[in-house]
């Protein structure tokens, strides 16, 4: 509905300034309107705020690139690689006989503590770290509302991975065949026996010492290798629809995490309990609460309650994307006449939604093609398009790839209207233009007599030429703000913006723009005050500059 209103604004014959102002009002309505007042939305909002505060707190020590909370998926994968590497060694020394499993694992911890024992401890603690990272990743993506629309596939493919992780983790504890393994094996089979699937109670397999044989551990090891392989396959599917996947976190984060696990392994090595004895019930157990919490939960409730919880949570997770959600953003639209096939949108799209095909009208040229199922509607492609420059003289600016809900033509008209308003201020006023992001700190509150604020779908959709255009059309300074490093809602928007402004990525900001007239601010949604402070400081800094000598030459667009 909103996009239709914008579209009609585009095609109407209204005066540009009025149109831009009207569109701006509609645009603001789009950003702040259609509130979802459900309990779920309220809960999610609170969770998002909590995550943002903790992330901002961790940023102070780690910075965005090394902040573990901002890279939970990559961190989880890193734990998985540690598990695979350490597991390979443990497998080579494992004796799969009933007596042998306990003895061979125990031997590592006692006689070879410096290698096998450390690897065993790393294996256990990395598994706990994996579960922790996985559950935090799930909670964070939910809190940020990243489970519907174009993210549906990633969300749905992620849910079975939780099952695989827990099956693998619980099975791993059985291999040691100590008292804890005995407890977990019996508790798990008793839980399974509540389901009406088995002809005979599976818990009968652990009735008495002579109930199990050596083949049990051979099968168990096979499962403990097979399930993680399925997990890796599932992870491949999970990240299949996004580009430039962070398969590993930053080197510093990896080293720091590994060091902390190594220190933990030294201080508190993972050890076996007493050997399993099915004639005796295990009493006090050093339980791994990350993985085996389900057993005490069954004891204090019932198998029926636990299965209801497990299946209920799984169904809820699968159903979550299909609950009523905010209207999906319109997707990017390619204009064949203005697409020169440069592939920049293809390179910058965070979700591999843009591919290149043969141009239907220009022989030997390519054209961008947008996959509607994958497009996030972030506008990063519009920001990457070389045709998205406001210096073009056409009355209506049409670029190669654009967003229907906020076309670059509207952006230019909005900017020109705001610059015209700022131009009416008294001489000596320091006029600022602030470009912000709908997902980051609210920049509309900064609008004042000497400040124009324009919020974009994502800061990554800002073509750098708009900054030059603003400065050459009357602004004294430009502030560009977006999400904190590692916190971009569309993954790569701020990274591309930073690189474009630093002349490291096309389309880059021309060197005509003095660096001291541009301020880049990384701020999350809750940091509106921080942005306001930076803007005020920047304004004061600009006042102290020798204005005439440091501004790029003035420019006035000729309308063709």
């Amino acid at each position: 509905m909103c996009s239709l209103a914008l579209d009609s604004g585009l095609r109407g014959n209204d005066d540009d300034q009025n149109a831009a102002s009207r569109l701006s009002r509609q645009y603001q309505y789009r950003v702040t309107g259609s509130p979802n007042l459900s309990l779920h939305a309220a809960l999610r909002g609170k969770a998002q705020t909590a995550f943002e505060r903790i992330e901002n707190f961790l940023d102070a020590s780690f910075g965005g690139a090394d902040n573990p909370l901002r890279h939970l998926g990559a961190l989880g994968l890193y734990f998985l690689w540690i598990l695979v590497a350490t597991g390979l060694y443990l497998y080579t020394v494992l004796d799969t006989s009933i007596e042998g499993v306990y003895r061979s694992i125990g031997h590592l911890s006692r006689e070879q503590w410096y290698l096998g024992g450390m690897l065993r401890s790393l294996h256990r603690y990395a598994s706990d770290g994996f579960v922790l990272a996985m559950m935090l990743h799930l909670a964070r993506e939910w809190a940020y509302g990243r489970y519907h629309g174009f993210r549906l596939y990633s969300w749905v493919t992620g849910v079975p991975l939780i099952w695989l992780a827990y099956i693998s983790g619980i099975g791993g504890y059985w291999i040691v065949w100590d008292r804890l393994a005995q407890f977990s094996a019996i508790a798990t089979t008793e839980l399974f026996d509540w389901l009406p699937f088995f002809n005979e109670p599976t818990a009968r397999n652990f009735l008495a010492p002579d109930s199990i044989n050596d083949r049990f551990f051979t099968v168990l090891v096979f499962i403990h290798i097979g399930i993680p392989l399925m997990l890796i396959l599932g992870l491949w599917a999970h990240v299949n629809r996004i580009s430039r996947v962070d398969y590993l976190p930053s080197r510093r984060l990896m080293l720091g995490t590994l060091a902390s696990l190594l220190v933990l392994a030294l201080v508190k090595p993972a050890l076996s309990e007493a050997p399993a004895d099915l004639a005796l019930a295990p009493t006090a157990l050093a339980l791994d609460w990350f993985i085996l919490f389900i057993h005490p939960l069954t004891d204090i409730t019932s198998p029926a309650s636990v299965w209801s919880l497990i299946f209920g949570a799984t169904i809820l997770l699968f159903a979550l994307p299909f609950l009523p959600q905010p209207t999906a953003q319109p997707i990017a639209v390619v204009d064949a006449a203005n697409c020169n096939g440069c592939s920049r949108c293809h390179a910058d799209c965070p979700y591999e939604a843009v591919t290149m095909a043969l141009h239907p009208d220009k022989a030997g040229h390519k054209i961008a093609v947008v996959d509607p199922d994958l497009c996030a509607g972030c506008g990063i492609c519009a920001g990457s398009c070389p045709s998205s420059t406001p210096f073009r003289s056409q009355e209506r600016l049409v670029t190669g790839i654009d967003m229907p809900q906020q076309p670059v033509d509207v952006l230019r008209r909005q900017l020109e209207a705001q610059l015209a308003r700022l131009g009416t201020q008294a001489a000596g006023t320091t006029r600022l233009v602030v470009f912000g992001c709908d997902k980051g700190a609210d920049v509309h509150r900064l609008t004042s007599a000497d400040t124009a604020a324009i919020s974009l779908l994502c800061t990554g959709m800002l073509p750098p030429s708009f900054i030059e255009y603003a400065l050459r059309s009357g602004a004294d300074g430009v502030v560009v703000t977006g999400c904190r490093e590692g916190g971009c809602d569309f993954r790569l928007g701020m990274q591309w913006t930073r690189e474009r402004l630093a002349h490291q990525r096309e389309p880059h900001l021309r060197s005509l723009v003095p660096p001291d007239r541009l301020q880049l601010v990384f701020a999350s949604r809750s940091e509106g005050d921080t942005v306001a402070t930076v803007v005020n400081k920047f304004r004061k800094q600009l006042r102290d500059l020798a204005v005439a000598s440091r501004k790029p030459p003035a420019y006035s667009r000729r309308i063709r």
Partner: protein, 166 residues
Amino acid sequence: MPKPAAIVGQIILYGAFAAFIGYFSTSPTYQQIPDDVALIKLSMSHLGGRECRKRTPEELAKLPANMRAPLDCPRGRSDIKLVLELDGKPMFDTVMHPTGLSKDGVSTVYKRFEVKAGTYQLAVKMNDNLVINHDFNFVKEAQVTLKPARVLVIDFNPDKGGLFFQ
């Protein structure tokens, strides 16, 4: 290069992460049963009986040569009645139903009972063919001494004489 304060912050936070993982990977200790308790596990998997009828020579003659089984047995199995008594008092009383859509599978039970450690008179009685038998056709009774954490299994195995304690 991170500032010294950031490095200190990282060390503290990595330490907190390791401490969190280290603590909850083994603590708090979980105790499923109290120290002075033993377990009795009643578990069996047994085919209930069925009443077969001997075919008459005339009936056998009417059948194809390869199908002349002397007994005509129904496919379904009988329910099994099972009673467990501790010191003469009923502890568990159930009727186990055969599994399978045609009720031709085994009847099973798996129950775990927590009892205070001590000496008890334990009796288990089973009737595996409710159609024919009007009383329990398998009975096992014995005085058992259960030490703390001891697991006593009550099972059924025809090769071991029927009901047995382990």
